[in-house]
Structures are given as C-alpha cells and as structure tokens.
Subunit: 378 residues, 2 copies
Amino acid sequence: MKFIIQRNRLIDSVQDVMKAVSSRTTIPILTGIKIIASEEGLTFTGSDSDISIESFIPTEEDGDELVEIKQTGGVVLNARFFGEIVRKLPMDSVEIEVLGQHQTIIKSGKAEFNLNGLDPDEYPHLPQISEENVFSIPTDLLKTLIRQTVFAVSTSETRPILTGVNWQIEEGVLTCIATDSHRLAMRSAPINFEQAEVCNAVIPGKSLIELSKILDDSSNPVEIVITDNQILFKSKNLLFFSRRLEGNYPDTSRLIPTDSKTELVLHAKDFLDAIDRASLLARGERNNVVKLATLEGKLIEISSTTPEIGNVVEHIQSQSIEGEELKISFSAKYMMDALKALEGTEIIISFTGAMRPFIIRSVNDDSILQLILPVRTF
Amino acid sequence: MKFIIQRNRLIDSVQDVMKAVSSRTTIPILTGIKIIASEEGLTFTGSDSDISIESFIPTEEDGDELVEIKQTGGVVLNARFFGEIVRKLPMDSVEIEVLGQHQTIIKSGKAEFNLNGLDPDEYPHLPQISEENVFSIPTDLLKTLIRQTVFAVSTSETRPILTGVNWQIEEGVLTCIATDSHRLAMRSAPINFEQAEVCNAVIPGKSLIELSKILDDSSNPVEIVITDNQILFKSKNLLFFSRRLEGNYPDTSRLIPTDSKTELVLHAKDFLDAIDRASLLARGERNNVVKLATLEGKLIEISSTTPEIGNVVEHIQSQSIEGEELKISFSAKYMMDALKALEGTEIIISFTGAMRPFIIRSVNDDSILQLILPVRTF
C-alpha cells in the first residue's frame, strides 16, 4: 500500500472513524484504524462492539485529486497514535507507505514516522446489510430528532432497554421515544417509507450521540437501513453502523395523560430562566427539586430552598392559567432539559393533579411532547 | 446595609475575589465573601490562608453612578452560592439588603433570593501593610514576567521553597527565577526602585498564576509592596495579597554554565513543532524524552521511539552549528515550555556536553534565559 493524500482530508476521516474506537476494548486489533487503499480511493474503519464507522475518500472529487493511490493494499494502525500524528504533520501533503510486516512509513515534509501496523485481514468484518427497506431523512432533521429525545434515556444499566431510544415507524411516521421512567421525550416526523408492517427498533443512546457529532448540518439525505440486529446510517462517503438493543421497549402510550385539570401557557425563555435561578438553591433533601404554584392574576410562583443557605422566590407572568389551582414539585434539571428540547417560544403545560405526570408541548408544534413525573414535597 | 448596583460590575468584583476563596478551607467564614458598604462604595473581600483579594467599586466613576448606597453596613455571604446567583440574575440592576441576623435579600426584577449571611466582624482582618518600599511595574510586563517563569516551579512539596518564584531586586533590576531542579527559567527587567539593600522574596507559584488571571492586559502600573511575610499587588480598585514562602532559595547562579562547547542557532517555531511531533512517540522507559543530534550541513536530527508502537525522525535546518558534534536527550515537555516562554523567532542553544545543563536564549533578547538538564540515554 502506498498513497499520497491531502492532510486535511486525512484528518477529517481519521477523526470521524476514531469516534467508534474505544481504548478499553478487549480485542487488541479494535484499538486500531483499518486503512484500505483501492483503485477507487481510501477506506478508513473504526469500531468497538457497539458502533462501527467507515469513511471513504475517493481519489477524485469535483475534479480535484484528493488521493493519489500508488499501490493498493491495507494496514491497521494504532488509532490514538495515528490520530495524534496526522494532526501534527508539518505539510499539506502526506505520503503513507506500508513496507514488509505491516511497517508503515508516514512522511510529511522532513518528518518521518515509522509505525508498527497490524494485518488488515485480521480486522473484524463489518456486517453485510442488504439494501432493502431503505428510507431517508434530511441530515438536519435527523440531528433534531436525536437532540430532542436522546437526553431522556436512562443512564442506569438496571433496565438496559431504557438506555436506548425507541424508533417506531408506522403509516409513514417515525416516532422517537426516550424515557428513564422519571420523564419521557417523544418526537415524530413524517418519512417517505411505505412499509406494510410496523417497524420497531431500540437504538443505544450513545450511538445516536456519536452519530449526531459526526453528521454535518446540511439538509442532505441520510439513508437508514434497519435489519434484525443492526441499524445503518449512510451519508455521503460515510457509513455508521450501530447494534440494536435487544428486548421489548415498554408501551409508553398509556403513560401519557389524555385529559388535564390545569393548563398553563407560558413564555418558554422566561420560564426556563426562572427555573434555572430556582435550581441554584434547590439543594434540599431531594436534590434539584423546585416548586411551582399558581397564583391570582395569571401569576406563577417558582421557589426552592436549601436548608442553612437560603431560599429563592420568583413570580412570572403567564399568558393564561386555566382549570384548578395547583401546587406541584419537580426536578429542575428535567424541566430545563425538556424546555431546551422544545425550542418553541410559547409552551403549554398540562397537569392532571400534583401527583400525576404532566406534559409540556409547544403551542405551535404537535410533533414534540415532553413528559415529567412530579416529586412529592407539598 | 442596603445598596443598588449594576449587575455587570457586581459580577466582575465577585468573580475577582472568588479566585481567593477555597471550598476546602477549615475556617468556615473563609468560604464566604465579605461585602462592606461605605459612603465611598463597596468593598468585596475573598481569602484563603495564602491569598487575599479585595475589590472596590466606587459609588461613582467618570460621572457614572455605579452603586447607590442606601445604608452602610456589611455581611459575609457564601461565595459559591452568591457567585452563581449574581451571574444568573435577570435584570441589569440588583438590590442587596441585609435585615436582622445577617439575613440578606438579593432582588433583581421579579426574582428574590434570601441568603443566610454571617457577621462581617468575624471575618479575619487583612494584613496592614505600610506604604514604604513601593515600586511599580506596568501590568503587561508583570504578566509577562510571571508567564515566562512560573511554569518552571516545582509541583512537588518535598522542597516547598521550589514551589515559589524567587524575586530578587538589586541595583534597579528585578530578576525572577523558578526551578524544579530539572530546569530553570529566569527573566529580568529594570524597575524604577532605588533601594540600598538587596531584596529577595519567594512568592508561591499558585499566587502568581491567580494574580495573572485577575490582571487586565493594560500597561497601567501595578504597585508592589514587599514586607517581611507578605507581598501586596495594587492595581486600580484591586488589592492582591500573597504570603511569601519561608526559607532560603537555593543559589542558582552557579548552575548556569558560562562557557559552551556546541552552539546552535535555530528558528524557534520550526524547532518547537519538530519537538512537539517527536514527543508523540516519546513514550519509552523514560517518558517524554526526545533525542537531538547534530549532522553535517547544519542539519539537526530530532528523534524518539515508543517500543512496540514505532519511532519518528525529523531533520531540521539550523542557521548555524558551531563547536563540537553533539548527541543529547532531554524532556520534550521542558523544551516546549522553554520555547513557548522565550517568544523569540531566533533562538540560540548553548551546550557544554551531553551530560551538562544547557541554556536556551533568544538571539535578540538578553533579559530571558531558560536552562534544562539533559537525560542520559545515548
């Protein structure tokens, strides 16, 4: 293997595939990045047991020569060292050559690195995924779907299925649901995918977070293929594989109340800032819990106390308060997460009593819903 | 005590004095910030056992009213909570009032915080320092003096005196010296201070780092007063006290070689980048050690090896090599620290053999010198 490549393209591809490489793997070859040089270009692969990422650099793009392949072949190089080296190379052009026994020479200007490589044939094969059942989502929408739900997955391994986001496809609508059993985030979007049966997959939250980091902010389509135990995301010159979580995701539809006893309409930013301030002194017995109470004159009182330190009270003006009076306590963190995900300027919060889950929606957008379970303090 | 203040000025002063507040203090009142409102303005004080910082906000500055004092008095407020609260207040104006038993109300817009304060009379008094023996240095020069030496102090407490920077004033010249016994940094500057006897103080490195963070980048003078066990830095509306380290600083003058057997003149940036690259593979028996060898044709070879992973070799062109051939090994980190401190574009390195300390200077600047002890590997 021997090729000459523009350093910046090399850095981008190496950084992308490194997101899948874990230093804590028990399979030594997975601490490496696989590089394959073919007549068409260069393929970089990084993987741990959950995520695999493949980045391709064609020899030519839009008439620009990106890579000059002098000899085809392949090697596996230690990801951490190789990643640091390519970022610090002195010149814009880099030559990489594999000699006998996978010895790899990396030359740029007058700097010459010699890395001990491994046999690329020993690198695990990525899953072969058939190109049936493909649908696509614009990149920016996919990132929004992830951002608005993934924060609500469970971080505890006691119920592993809850560490993933449930993707349901039914009648041309993709619905993403995440819950840690104290709160729930749900977002749906229409997709162009005609399938007779309901498709239901649970994707690890960690995979979605890494995917989000790797995708650009364009509206280019990302193709998605769901198989029995994998999900594949295909963007331009990039393949992102994630395993699916096994098991049945709980039926969350019954959790979401359909009636309401008290409804508030609020300016989201004012409410978020007040919750943020109240959280500063929410260090009582139950950490990070703030109180909300409805008052006369469409006023809402937000308050919290930290024993020995002090307390805070703030009144905010709502657009409207309908229904019964209410006093309720909830996690400031969950509320702030939900409000940040909603993005709306005007929000509506529907309560069905101080001890029942309540839902937060955007006034002008039905595609997203956030649910929070209250805490008993009043 | 009762006053109304612009939020931004309050944030600045609180952030400045918080740099002296440690959460790990054994004296409870020192976890607080002391606030004193007088007819002239507000004084904020933060302190741990080593550093004390006082920030003053006058009622008026350049015709602008900064603080409206409604009632004089004082209180001590928990630094962490108070600091977080002032940063998140909703409006540009803040009212702070102390009621009975040091209960303090902080009001901004519709947010009202109630903090339990402590008695300001129980806060330790700052040292009284007489205004004799004052000299001054422009702020930017003071920050440069600190930056160019403080990185070389020892981080180990085995010889506490070496965790400080030695300031010597003799015949109108201030010389700052730091060493951890493996390397040494020295920088001198003329000052306008006529004193008969030699002044010699060792200032904790940590104090100088905090001082540097707090000072702006102006050329306004900072007044400096050195007393028996304290050093005081006075900038506009700011007092910064640090204790001095006790004990005798070692005589470092004999460490610095006066002759040389090999002299290199180099472009600093090229050399720094080559050392940085070589350090990537400098993970051998002795961590972070790179090798330097002189070659024919004014070339210098920089190399390093990490067993099992690989090695790197780079040739750089020097302006000149004079004297004996040389092979020497040294810490890449020490060399990079020294080169970054030097700031010069052209540097001169003077060696007196592979096992003797060598010195690095800027070709055009005699006021700064860096010294490094080599490592035995050749």
